[in-house]
Point group: D2
Chain length 339, copies 4
């Protein structure tokens, strides 16, 4: 009874992203559980469902949504299937997390928009996950303070190690730059009004016939200019960088450093003000690790031996302070239990 | 029924750390819930319990642990109360996450150790949370590969903005350097054998009579030398840095950069190899944000309007690619729902 | 006699750049001295000449070049005067360092080119000084090794604190981006074939009517794409950055760090291999400081007291090593001479 | 005649450092030339002298100093020979730049000190060249402003790739840490009062019997605590780092970044305020390169072709600005002269 507020989620699509979301909801997310998975491939749906206690496999999204266990829907099926799933969720008034793209083209997206508008309230969160990245969030926070003035330009780098065999030049836009399009709109709070795409001579690492890298220039209704290097065969890793140039300074993320701000004659980042800010993630991970191990019937992490050894060293340390000399720490023999 | 594997946790102590752990288990941790809180201050216990569905307040840890709802115990009471709580948990065979310090001194820690040894299996995870910090974990992983060779020295900086009024010179050791003691033992896999504490002339920012900063030198049974600057009135923030000097290179964390390794004529860090590695936290936060909003009856984050607008810009982008020219993006009027 | 190989230089133009070059040749450069200065403003020419032993003031470049003392010519007059001065130097076969721009437009530059071509050998070094900057040189060296593969794109940032009152939008190109044009050609070894200039909405810091910042896109005959943010009212300082994106990695300069290379899963820079590499500039400065002080009749820098004090501390250090304990260093009283 | 103010220098010792100083004075330093070189090895002295116009070889320092050409003395002979050479220079009242160490021990250094004190004015600059390093100078300047408050601690790292075969444990102090001793005294303006040396277990890269690395702790009469990691077989390069911890912040150099300051909640460095500050070294190098090439009878660097090509691209750029479109740049055919 006390758990009735745990959200029952139906995950539609059990491909790479869908299966990963099932794992995430079960093992990482607080307050939700997967009660249904849907895939046109029944076998795969059953395989995934079988790994989750109390989870049912479906091949039809509508059937899954009809279950009383389902409180919310996560759509991770191929883009072409999104529209139907969204409309089905609307008809049952279910909240939806829909992986990007919302739908494969503007016309279908507009139909979904119309349907939601008729509902009169928002039901959908679209999966533009960069808005939840710690670095982008920091950048957005800084811009929102207004202390750097109005944004004038946004420079982006988006690099992948290598493109898969089925990659096309259009996917540079639809699958990659789509993220910078959303980021631009979100960071600047402006709509994009025009796009130009420029092509340097393709890299020798790009498959024959693929236009890679590309350089995309976008204009916004706020007069900002946005450029994106999209480079899907950069050969060295996955790298996403963004620099916003404002009237009184610039801020940059993604360089292997904290956000670096250039303003008033200085470049650099911020220093945490207390241990909570610095180690909050560590506390979260610590408790999760304990819960996970306990549920598996194990005990992991720092042991009583560690607690004891540190206590003994502390005593030596305090004596060293007091007596102004080197003090040796003495430990009992370590019990086999802690090997 | 399907939730019987959700861990029922009793949180002992509802001070700052305890209350924060209650919040964490309810809102962040997956697979656990707080079913009991304990505090000698009944009012405070009831206040905290009242915020959690199905949670009972206790003043006596033993009574709480007797509840059949309680599967595990998180001890966040003052250090002096830890030993009794630990032994009570042992007597009920309950797994424990015990905030540091394990107990206030080596003698009592040894009693706990003996008790657990008699149980014949580990029941306790001690709250040395730096072992769960992403940067320390990266450093540990690198050391464990052995590619830098044997660790020779470990340099640490531990700085706090300002010390609270009740802070004493001994707390530099017992409350602050205690973390570097554990980190040393964990990172190097060696025990500390001797401690020396050196005192520069105190900072003008330190309260009268406080020996601050201090410089602690520790030796290990593996022959490593460890130094710690502990500086609790540094005046500019909270900063924790560590550099391990090995036979073939050094690795440093906490500098406002990723872990920086110096080896083979180069300094620098690593680049993620795919978007999962780079944006895993963003996905986790995205789904958590959706679950949290949904449980509150809200919809937040990227909207259908965002999905539609990006689809329209993508279409302009692909046309721009194909036609080799600047293409304007056209959007319908934005419905009020998305303002 | 033994100095006849010291180059006698005529400096034409004694404005800000010219006067600074006179100072440089006299006080910084080895193997040259200023024997003539030329300015249409006789008073200014005489003022500058008066500060240099054995230097004559002229108002006519041709007259200066006729002097037998003059072995070489440095042109730092306004651009419009360059062509005549260059041709005069050619007629006397004098080598020239000509401040940029070579001449104010392509037609006049072409006439100079023709004249030099007729001479049959190069006489002119043009003052594109970025080619002598340590960071750009490092970047060029790396590109020339070929280890990053062919350059695909070059991203540039060029920012000034604030523009002077007489600045025009065309000067963004002619006075600022002119540097990136040369840098592009030099770094990539390619000619620029096309230019596009884009305008975001001007910064609130730009004077009314000035198009600032601007975004310049250039194409090269090697198929590379080059972009330049030129931002002459950035408000926070002077910042010049360049990132070359090659087939197997990128290299970036100007970020307040050494050159940072991203390749093969790592970002970072290089570490010097010996103290000469690390401290060569320090040695140069040390000896120059000694020569300068000596010529002024002074002695500065580390004193005999410093040499003695360090020797005494070394002795304490070696004893501390040998005896495994803290050793105090004893100094005699410091003579007043060294206060 | 006009060159009589060019300093005539006698360089004593023509080993590695001495020969390098000869090269430096001839090719880098402004206002000085080498008129005498001295070495007990006559052949070597003559070899080095033979490379310099108007330079005489000597085997006896006293004889060299007797020459009327000699205005100043640079001592780069082995340390044991310094005292005699210094006293000889004193007797002729010649200014001296003496490589470190001043003399091999405190007693002999004291004799030199006494001799100079009797002269009543300083004659010697000791070769502690770190005081002339750009990064250390920046650190010193910052400390001298007082804005970070009083220095409390100074952390140093001093790492060499590998030690030569004849290196001894005492040389860690006398040849390496000697630099940090001087740096400490100079940066902090305090004398060192005590030294302790600690030994971790030696690195596997250190030759058998060598105590490497070492950790040196020094105390100053101003109450500051100084630590030095001296690590002469670090295996990856030459690295010198220093961090001063003051009452209100810290400043660090040597990390492959500009000086990084942590204060008031921020870490980072400064941005140049104009192009002179940013490119001063480039201008110096540019003019020196021109003088050097001209003296060799060559012309190097950016050519008239470069000047012309950039002028043509500028014209295309300005037209692109004005017409709001992509404009192609047209160049004449490149004459063979510029290939």
């Amino acid at each position: 009874m006390e758990n009735r507020d745990v959200l029952g989620v139906a995950v539609i699509g059990t491909g790479k992203m869908g299966a990963d979301h099932v794992r995430r909801i079960q093992q990482v997310t607080s307050g939700a559980r997967v009660v249904a998975v849907v895939d046109v491939d029944r076998e795969r749906a059953e395989l995934v469902a079988g790994r989750v206690d109390g989870c049912t496999a479906y091949t039809d999204p509508v059937a899954a949504m009809a279950s009383t266990d389902v409180d919310a829907v996560l759509i991770a099926s191929p883009g072409a299937a999104h529209e139907a799933a969204l409309l089905a969720a609307f008809s049952r008034d279910l909240p939806v997390l829909c992986e990007k793209p919302l739908t494969p083209d503007a016309a279908s997206a507009l139909r979904v928009l119309e349907a939601e508008r008729r509902l009169g309230r928002r039901r959908v969160q679209v999966g533009f996950m960069r808005r939840y990245d710690a670095e982008y969030l920091k950048l957005k926070s800084l811009l929102d303070t207004g202390q750097l003035g109005r944004p004038l330009m946004l420079h982006n780098r988006h690099r992948n190690l290598a493109s898969p065999p089925w990659w096309t030049s259009a996917m540079h836009i639809n699958d990659s730059v789509v993220h910078e399009m959303d980021v631009t709109r979100w960071l600047l709070g402006q709509e994009i009004t025009a796009v130009t795409v420029l092509f340097p001579r393709p890299s020798g690492n790009a498959p024959e016939g693929l236009q890679d890298p590309q350089f995309v220039v976008m204009e916004t209704d706020g007069g900002a200019l946005v450029d994106v290097e999209i480079n899907v065969n950069c050969g060295f890793g996955y790298q996403v960088q963004a620099e916003v140039v404002c009237e009184r300074g610039t801020a940059r993320i993604g360089d292997g450093q904290d956000m670096v701000v250039s303003t008033a004659g200085r470049w650099g980042g911020t220093i945490a003000q207390d241990f909570i800010e610095r180690f909050e993630d560590a506390y979260d991970r610590e408790v999760q690790a304990w819960v996970d191990a306990t549920r598996r019937g194990e005990v992991t992490g720092p042991s009583v031996w560690d607690g004891y050894a540190v206590a003994a060293v502390c005593e030596a340390g305090v004596r060293a302070q007091r007596e102004g000399r080197r003090v040796e720490a003495e430990l009992v023999e370590k019990p086999a239990l802690y090997d």
